[in-house]
Symmetry: none
DNA sequence: TATTATTAGTCAGAGAAGGTCAAACTTTTT
DNA sequence: AAAAAGTTTGACCTTCTCTGACTAATAATA
């Protein structure tokens, strides 16, 4: 397990059931023994708006980072996601989406595994590398539109 | 005894009794005093799907190579199919197989629908047309190997 | 109000994996 | 002996993560 994943997990656990989570960047950095900007990295790669997270922050004395989860119904959530997914998706971004789908009961574990396999670099090994991420996004959208 | 055989043996011993084995390429390379790509060679020649193995990996910090062993009960049936599929699959051939899978309880209806969506012409619209059927076959194989 | 202390943000570059491919070498088959 | 098949190596590529120097905003204080 790497640092980013641990921090992600920590944040997910703490936001679970709450409307939002407020944290102090330097505290978390301290807790995980890393530089503060690591927290920004985790947030910007894993708590993205496309997944329904909304992040606010404030600098200066008693500053904070607040991560909120936008409440929405399942179908609205899916619709929003289709809307927001761009034209490209890397394999690791797929993983992040799939985790979220599992926690929102949109796919079960087995289905997520299936999607992951379908879109792995391995499956797409014959695709022109410069197009891979675009095709992955197309496949992903196709799949979730069919699952609503 | 050559290197590749030794490495193969080592991996086989370590996966014995387990569902999967996760290894660090550089560790193994080190252990056997060879270049890392040697491990890829061994895996690609000896831990192939036809022999009941499925391999996933991840790059970057704390990356890994995971070799899973497919359950043997259904695997013979699956491999026969993989064998028959060959390198190309049209969309209509996909449908035929999926129906088969449903009746053999390898996939349920929802999963089959998911697979179908993943491999539709729509999903693959950006793929070079001359490669489409090849990529479809790769995706299909990846999926079913993961579902056994 | 101006200054200073406290935060958080950004971004480029280093680091840490694994992947690919072709060339050289070795062993087996014809 | 020649050809084919299998193995080993290394150079270069891609992806993901982590760090630190520098920047920007806000609050606290003088």
């Amino acid at each position: 397990m790497n640092l980013s994943n641990l921090i992600e997990e920590y944040i997910r656990q703490n936001i679970e059931g709450e409307e939002y989570l407020e944290l102090k960047r330097s505290d978390i950095a301290n807790k995980f023994n890393c530089v503060p900007s690591q927290i920004n990295y985790v947030i910007s790669t894993r708590f993205i708006p496309e997944l329904g997270f909304y992040v606010e922050s404030r600098r200066g004395g008693s500053g904070y980072i607040r991560i909120s989860r936008l409440a929405s119904s399942k179908s609205k959530y899916i619709f929003d996601i289709i809307d927001k997914i761009g034209y490209k998706m890397s394999q690791s971004v797929v993983d992040i989406y799939l985790n979220d789908f599992i926690s929102y009961n949109i796919l079960d574990k087995r289905e997520a595994k299936l999607v992951k396999a379908a879109m792995s670099d391995k499956s797409l090994k014959k695709v022109d590398p410069s197009k891979k991420d675009y095709i992955r996004a197309d496949i992903f959208k196709s799949i979730i539109m069919n699952m609503v």
